[in-house]
Symmetry: C2
Subunit: 336 residues, 2 copies
Amino acid sequence: MSKKPVKTIADIARLAGVSKSTVSRALNDSPLIGIETKERIRKIARQHDFQINVAARQLSMKRSNTIAFVTHAYHKEFSVADLFGLEIMGGISLGLHANSYDMLVVHVDPRETAWAHEYLDTGRVDGFILMTATRKQSHIKYLLEMGAPFIVWGIPAANQSYPSVTGDNFSGGKLATEHLIRTGRKRIAFLGGPAEELEVQLRYGGYETALRESGRRADPALIAYGDFSNTSGAVAMRQLLGQAPDLDAVFVNSDLMALEAMEVIREQGRRVPEDVAVVGYDDLSIAQHSNPPLTTIRQNIPLAGKLLAQNLIQYLQAGVVTNVSIPVELIVRKSA
Amino acid sequence: MSKKPVKTIADIARLAGVSKSTVSRALNDSPLIGIETKERIRKIARQHDFQINVAARQLSMKRSNTIAFVTHAYHKEFSVADLFGLEIMGGISLGLHANSYDMLVVHVDPRETAWAHEYLDTGRVDGFILMTATRKQSHIKYLLEMGAPFIVWGIPAANQSYPSVTGDNFSGGKLATEHLIRTGRKRIAFLGGPAEELEVQLRYGGYETALRESGRRADPALIAYGDFSNTSGAVAMRQLLGQAPDLDAVFVNSDLMALEAMEVIREQGRRVPEDVAVVGYDDLSIAQHSNPPLTTIRQNIPLAGKLLAQNLIQYLQAGVVTNVSIPVELIVRKSA
DNA sequence: CTGAAAGCGCTTACAG
DNA sequence: CTGAAAGCGCTTACAG
């Protein structure tokens, strides 16, 4: 109960009457060590609450067993309420922990692409999980050039090879639109994220397909784009209401933008969902607490986080590049 | 542009024609090194994009320059929408980075108190920032016993010494209540977090003081407690409405609970703010997007994060224990 | 199956 | 002001 001088494998070695090599191997469960020797050593380690020195292991093995979660969500000049990022971080953290990896959080300025060296060349992390939305392509390009291991949340560019996890955006757009059609809406608007993003194009594809399958066509007056921020949601919604005053439903590409859109709709004296039905995207925790509670497309965020962690580790250890798309589902609440 | 074999200080030493010791000292800006030697070495390092090996430094210096952000917010069994934790994490991350510290995110099970060994004894982190709400006292007790350096968000226990940062809870409660009095409310309820928490008691103190200063007394029928979760907000609000059907205002101890409370108020056919005014607490990013936008008490979250980072580092480096309380302000929107 | 020894890339007394 | 050397605590070829 006094001092506990068992701080290193050398201490354990002394206690067990073996060499450091043997202790190291026993602790790492090497098949080289005899079963009863191994058990004896591990028992001693347990009794003394031995915790291995991570820095020494890292230095010796030349890897950190740590990955960086890269976001600009809370960079001082780009602070946005990135609830989605937070929710996925929980899943990633769990997935990493299950594989004995730690998670470092790195907040970057999206205009600056050279941040990776600072983490990779110092040996601080073995790889990156890219959540940053703004200018994602330029960050990816840079990481590829420097040969840094990473995985991204989002759709991989067609001509490049790197692991990724994404939601099924096409199905998301289709499910949302079909629901609005099924509930009798006639003039269904599309309020997208940035038009140049593949995710948004796929959601639009789902929207357009659902319309077509019910014998309708997409009307340009019913289309507008924001940038996923809530303020842009308000702007785009006003635009839609101006272009197409007769709209009676809108599929919005994010919950945050949907909340603002509902606000604008009400400002103009129309009710949600009676006059205009609204479907969001993401099913963030706030979706169920909005007024009215938001009908939305749920992405399985914990699963996404777990896969981001697992697949990056798989890539690090075996070079396997996996690109997966996770299923989405429609959550019907009160707004549509 | 081909291979860059400048990976270690030995490489730099060779290039500069000096010893590794000198390079190390130059890079660490030691006053021992001649100014022009120092400049020459640093220039070479810059030219070759040299990044020091962190594991080696850690091993040698016996500290990691990394701190752990401890939360149970997204532990698998305790997943809650801890927006507050996310927002403060941004500030902490910035504050740490400014002091050359990294941030590791640790998700713990609140029932388990032995997690600290795994991070401290392995040398992974130098200290902890405790955000965990549930069972905070038992975690603090454990950290104190093992002599682990940490700082907590919240009010420090009176009989113990450790650094902390907290909001000015008394003023928060007073400001909220005074606003409701000023706007003519007669029957003002208090919907608190857990009654046993000092934060909550102080907010109640502010509430009670404001009432007293305007010549009123707190009415037990107007008091109820939740546990900061949104569901508990609904339960407590129902209780209040049952106990005191004539209430015309409520001060709720968190924005998340306030959102649910507004929902319950409306369910019972009453309007916010016409029939019942609602003031929240925290000013999370969702507060401005709720319907109606929430009047609330803002805590300066970025500042709180920065101070948590700075003061922990100060404690690590100099043993200085600071306990600070940061100012709060009333944000008037539509709900009260 | 086990051990002695080298090596990972730094920092820092110690000596000059 | 600068360098040679030891040391931080591991892992892992190499030898037995």
